[in-house]
Amino acid sequence: MDTVPADGLLAASWLLIALPLAGAAVLLLGGRRTDRWGHLLGTGTVVAAFVLGLLCTFALDGRQVDVDLFTFAATGSLDVQAGLLYDPLSAVFVLLITGVGALIHVYSIGYMAHDPRRRRFFAYLNLFIAAMLLLVLADNFVALYVGWEGVGLASYLLIAFWHERPSAATAAKKAFIMNRVGDVGLALAIFVMFAQLGTVTFEGVFGSVGVLAGGTVTAIGLLLLLGACGKSGQFPLQAWLPDAMEGPTPVSALIHAATMVTAGVYLIARSAPIYDQTPTARAVVLAVGAVTLMIGAIAGCAQDDIKKVLAYSTVSQIGYMFLAVGLGPAGYVAALAHLLTHGFFKAGLFLGAGSVMHAMNDSVDMRRYGGLASKMKVTFVTFGLGYLALIGFPFLSGFYSKDAIIEAAFDRGDGWGYVLGAVAILAAGLTAFYMTRLMLLTFGGRPRWEDGVHPHESPSVMTVPMIVLAVGSVLAGFLLVVAFPLEEWLAPVFGEPEGAEHVVAPLVVSVLVTLVMVLGAGTAWLFVGRREVPLTAPVRVSPVVRAARRALYADTVNESLFMRPGQWLTRALVFVDNRGVDGAVNGLAATLGGSSSRLGRAQTGFVRSYALSMLGGAVVVAGALLAVTAG
């Protein structure tokens, strides 16, 4: 990896982070004064950042540019610089983050219009954008870690935005804690790098990682993976992501669908030089991806909360991306392509869901939806396009990106390749099932609305972003895979694409996937399309469904394995500390006091007993002296 110092416009790329950060600062410190125009400022900074990002990207032309800012912390042999690395990979992310981010800011103007705390909402969004950009622009692991936890904070603040709701507050805490578990992995990975290589910069680490022993590299890989799992809601740390839907819907769209949760993919892709050294770690990545994408898909099938369905679908889609990066060089580009397309259509879907909830008085229960197609045409169309893109309808974006991943899986050639491919295809079917179910429940059938609900189309400030994203989700795949191949753009990072000979012909894969998709969609129609939808979830259902509803008991496991024992341990320790440690000290004091009063009894007040004690003492003294001299 050979970088060149920044020049011209790129030297100012730190403004990308500074702009939204400044926005956040102004909004938070400005107080009520900024209430009237706060949201405009917030949106403005992000739009500006997007424009700047575009210009920087054009100015890049395949170089890897290093921007040195200032010394963050240097002591001993440790030297942490605050520096940015602007290369094709980060450029892609910058555009995704600022682009989708800008759209969602616009959308939020409408969505949060009536919230008394809208100003703070935009402040937090800006904070997130800044942190996320730092995450993808950092040129060393510590700076990346700073952004990494920064987005965690933003996510915490936004999930808990309606903190009067205990559920929201708890979800936010849960998200932060489970992310912290991942962060420990990332931190330890950084420590190992420093201990072994004496540096934490991408350039330094990737340059010298080759000299390390296999075991060490694998350890680094696995620790990084732990971090990635935490941030991206991958198994075994996936449980927080669905709960995170407690946040306002734009947040779900931006943070918990399009950008932050894909940071894990970015981390692994960015650390490609490390993973290239360690097949073991890659295999684990594969496994995690495969397992997660199944868990997500299965859980998604049984949810009645529209946002929960989309959340599990996100879990599952990111599982695809992990699977892809797990495949190594063959998969990185595919993963990133899917990451981008997913960014478009999943953001679009969430915005659509938000629009629907707006219409339904913020109800998220799909069993009380139905027949909205006619009432909310724009939402229906945009949502529909996003849906098609997601399930991989031919020639929409999902079709290209997902197929690429499945092909890559097969291209492993070995048995595992087939297994993974099969899993991926099966999950594609499930995806089609639960998304179709969602569509039918929401837009199809006849209304099952609660009283006093009068659906209406959302204002244009909300619909426009939805339309843009819908267009994106239709075209992105074609553009990225066929028109302007992402492979070539990313070549400076992942090396020139070598035309891998396919084990299974792409056409076969595509046909197979499409068939499975149709099958899944059809099944969904059989289940919900034809019959009457009960207003409350049926109780007497098969264990499979029950398990799916409980998301395969992830929370149950966490609670019984960590939470309860933890609480028990805490209580026990509090007891130990008060009674044991402190009790020992107070006990000592008490003992002294007791012996004092007991000894005091010897002071009887009788002259003759005093005389006796003296005589005794004299005898002892004489005896002692004689003993010493004698022996």
Binding site: T71, F72, L153, A169
Partner: protein, 541 residues
Amino acid sequence: MNDFPFLLTMIAVPAVGAAVVAALPRGRDVLAKQVALGVSALVFLLAVLATIAFDAGGDRFQLTTSVSWIPDFGVDFALGVDGIALVMLLLIGVLVPVVVVASWRDTPPANRSMSTFFAWLLLLEAMMVGVFAATDVFLFYVFFEAMLVPMYFLIGSFGGPRRQYAAVKFFLYSLVGGLVMLAAVIGLYVVSSSELGEGTFAFDALRQIEIDPGVQKLLFLGFFVAFAIKAPLVPFHTWLPDSGAEAPIGGAVLLVGVLDKVGTFGFIRYCLPLFPDASRDLAPFVLVLAVAGILYAALLAMGQSDLKRWVSYTSIAHFGYIALGIFAFTTEAGTGAVLYMVNHGIATGLLFLIVGMLIARGGSRQIADYGGIAAQAPKLAGAFLIACLAALALPGTNSFVSELLVLIGSFPSVPVFTILATAGIILAALYSLLVYQRTMHGPPRGVLLEAGTGPTPAEPVGGSGTATVTAPAPAAARLRVRDLSRRELAVAGPMVALIIALGVYPQPLIDLIEPAVAATMSDIGADPAGVQPATDTEGTD
């Protein structure tokens, strides 16, 4: 201006100020406050000037002053600072004025006058400056013990309901430690007199002499016990929750922010350079205490139902990190540990101050008595959140930098302990956010609830922190809580600013600290240049 006796002035000014304030007639509390504020501000100014006069690249000890004090004992009244002591003086300079302002509206207990409070406060400041600035072990010891008296009166006269118990406990714990240390101090003197012909207490002279390993162990333990009680390390810690809980907020801030740092300061200033062999031999034992403390105290913090006890336990956990950094024997970790001492002073200081403001509003120390405050007091909640984030060492706050340096510097030398300590950051997140959620989030409830608008506050569940959350109040429920006043903003604002500033650009402090730490490392025979990459192709871990 290098020859200006900064340190002497920094001791004399608050001492005189204390005398003046104490001499003020009863009822002149306002004047007392103003004098106290002026004096502490002056000390801050002096600290800043001293920092300017200090040359980071220069001699180990600078701004030195020395006059013979007790010739028969070979004791000099010798003052001087290296980077480590200097940053602590800066911390004192910052915290005391803040504390004065924070205590501005405090009302003293029955027939006590606030002027007494401020007199003790200033005297305490003088002692604290002395203890960090002393370069003569005897002088250090004298300040170390004398420091107890003002704090004893601060807790005992102005503290909470169980202040008598807390004050005596604090005093006796520290005194026991101090007396054991006294034995070691005398022992050190005797050794020096046998080594150098005539005994001395001068730190620089003592640093040179070779001490027999066995004796070193004994002397090390003598010092260590005192510092471990002061710091405090588990299991010598149980006095801190009591003192922290009962002390007035101002006292608590200085107690945890500065006083306890004398312990960790003692580790790196005295234990390591004076007894290098013993330090190396006994390091594992210390590290066990440190890491055990990190996890144990963190879990205990989660179990607290009392806000001030909670803060105290979080501090105990943080002291574990500092000790880890010091006894990892690398420049990075050592620098991190010293930086941690400063940052922790600021972060926990803010935490205590905010908690104090909360208690001032609700009149209760029980976590369970508060809830849903963020909705109505966003500034208060925001400051509290920042304090909590600093407590869990979130990047962007000052604590992150120090924690990173400590951990990344310790990992190469003591990987296992570091891994355990790193796991501690999960617990840190837990105990911080748990309390933040309980007090700030959720529906309005607790003692601040406006009469009739909601249910009565939950009775706090003793010991176990699982406070019974009251049923959400009806929508009409509102809290009787005003947001931060101008004065309170003047208290919290600077602290928040420092937390962010030092979190983004800590390098200046690091540059101050590193040379002293590097010197210490060479004293104990570690490579002052820092960790050398292992790059072993055999694959460690």
